[in-house]
Amino acid sequence: MLFFLTRAFINIRQHAFVNVVTMGTIALAMFIASLFLLVFVNLESAMDNWSERVQITVYFDRELAPPEQSQLQQRITAIAGVSRATYVSRAEALVRFKSRLKGQGTLLEGVRADVLPTSFEINLKQQYRETGSVEAVVTRLKAIPGITEVQFGEEWVKRFNLFLDFMRFLGSLLGAFLIIAVIFIVSNTIKLTIYSRRDELDVMALVGATRFFIKAPFLLEGIIQGVVGTGSALLLLFGLYEGFMYNAGDYIPFNPLSSGLMFIPYEYCAALLGAGALLGFIGSLTSLKRFITT
């Protein structure tokens, strides 16, 4: 293995120009893929934040005593999909109502807290925020005695989920095209590299090298090219990301640092490096199959 690895590094040094061009092409292709992933990850995060607004409110026509509150809260949070249930008393409801109608205080003159209903505001776990899941939770809530009304902005939830589905579909479609393009570019670049060195393959076969012996350094070279190319792409992207985060605030109407924008998570970066290595390996393997005939 050490022999093949040494051979692979010597080959890279001996074919420096071709290797730099190959790694550069891989870097460019992987940069575009990583940039897409960065946008996608941040959009997903934004969509998660927006989906926090998917909330169910259940109303009661009377004030609940503390033991009853806690009993109902336990019953509600026991429903699959519910992450949190917060009790809103009549007094708190009035405070919120007043704050919403700030500046129009006269409208609330004479309004007492006991005309308002009490409620539980229910938040859902992320995977239960789709229309079907929300409706399932609503059905179970309706079965709880004492609840007079359940509200969850049915139309808004439906439209919001439709929007999320569309965004995910669009993202997956673009991602799939991008992956195909990257595979095509990387495998063809590696093919050209190997094509330019087919004499080497011929000579090695001529002196009795086994297929494994011929292929091993090329496959390792492919992996190195893939990892170095992807690594360079990620470094470039990280540099641009950092530059944007610390400098773009002067030119755009919001501060990127407090906007919640994040870089690609480490595990995704590792997966991209792995994908780069795999692309390099498969690109080399398929090209070698074409050129090694005996």
């Binding site: 004499d199 000579v203 009795g208 086994t210 005996t294």
Partner: protein, 222 residues
């Protein structure tokens, strides 16, 4: 050592490159194969090192039946054969030393042994001083000597040469022929395809003549 029995080689939809060839070459023999361009000399050599399979007939080389060789067995055949070409087939980005050492690397030799053996064969062909140079800096004769060193460094049982002197001047031709003779004296079976009459006449060896893929005659040049 080498035996061709009723060998016909036909490329797709074309006339046969070789037609019904029968030829036996004994261990330690030195044979020239000659004939005009397109006679089938190179095709015959390619059959011997397993680059081609015969369309019909049997090709036996050093105990291997090339006609029924699996791809995984071809390297084993080639390790007992050294091959030299008119265009040298040297790797331009590797030094003289590396071009020769590749044969021993493939065989799994240790680094120290590779160094000793490679320098010894380079000395034998008179090019040891240029071991660190790249092929493009060498003359045609020097490049052919490197190719010859690569073919002989592992002491092959058979040496095949396809127009080895085609690009060389008379002095280099003599030098190459003397290396062939030395290898032959040490027991290597040598088969040289050439239409270089002077080389053939000078060597006093067995001569096989082909024309349009067919066996014409064989003789022993005195």
């Amino acid at each position: 050592m080498i035996e061709l029995q009723n060998v016909t080689l036909a490329y797709q939809a074309e006339a046969a490159a070789l037609y019904n060839i029968n030829l036996t070459i004994d261990k330690g023999e030195f044979v020239f194969i000659t004939g005009p361009s397109g006679a089938g000399k190179s095709s015959l050599l390619r059959l011997l090192y397993g680059a081609l399979e015969p369309t019909t007939g049997q090709v036996l080389v050093d105990g291997h039946n090339v006609s029924h060789l699996k791809p995984s067995q071809v390297p084993l055949l080639r390790r007992s054969i050294g091959v030299v070409f008119q265009d040298f087939k040297l790797l331009q980005n590797r030094t003289v030393f590396e071009n020769v050492a590749i044969t021993l690397e493939v065989l799994g030799w240790g680094r120290a042994d590779i160094g000793k053996k490679t320098m010894a064969i380079l000395k034998k062909v008179g090019i040891e001083a240029k071991y660190g140079q790249f092929p493009q800096l060498l003359s045609g004769g020097e490049q052919q000597r490197v190719a010859l060193a690569r073919a002989l460094v592992n002491d092959p049982k058979i040496l095949l040469a396809d127009e080895p002197t085609g690009n060389l001047d008379e002095a280099n031709k003599d030098l190459i022929l003397s290396v062939f003779n030395e290898a032959n004296i040490r027991g290597t079976t040598v088969v040289v395809a050439t239409h270089d009459k002077r080389l053939i006449e000078q060597s006093h060896k067995r001569l096989v003549t082909l024309n349009k893929g067919e066996f014409v005659e064989q003789a022993h040049i005195e």
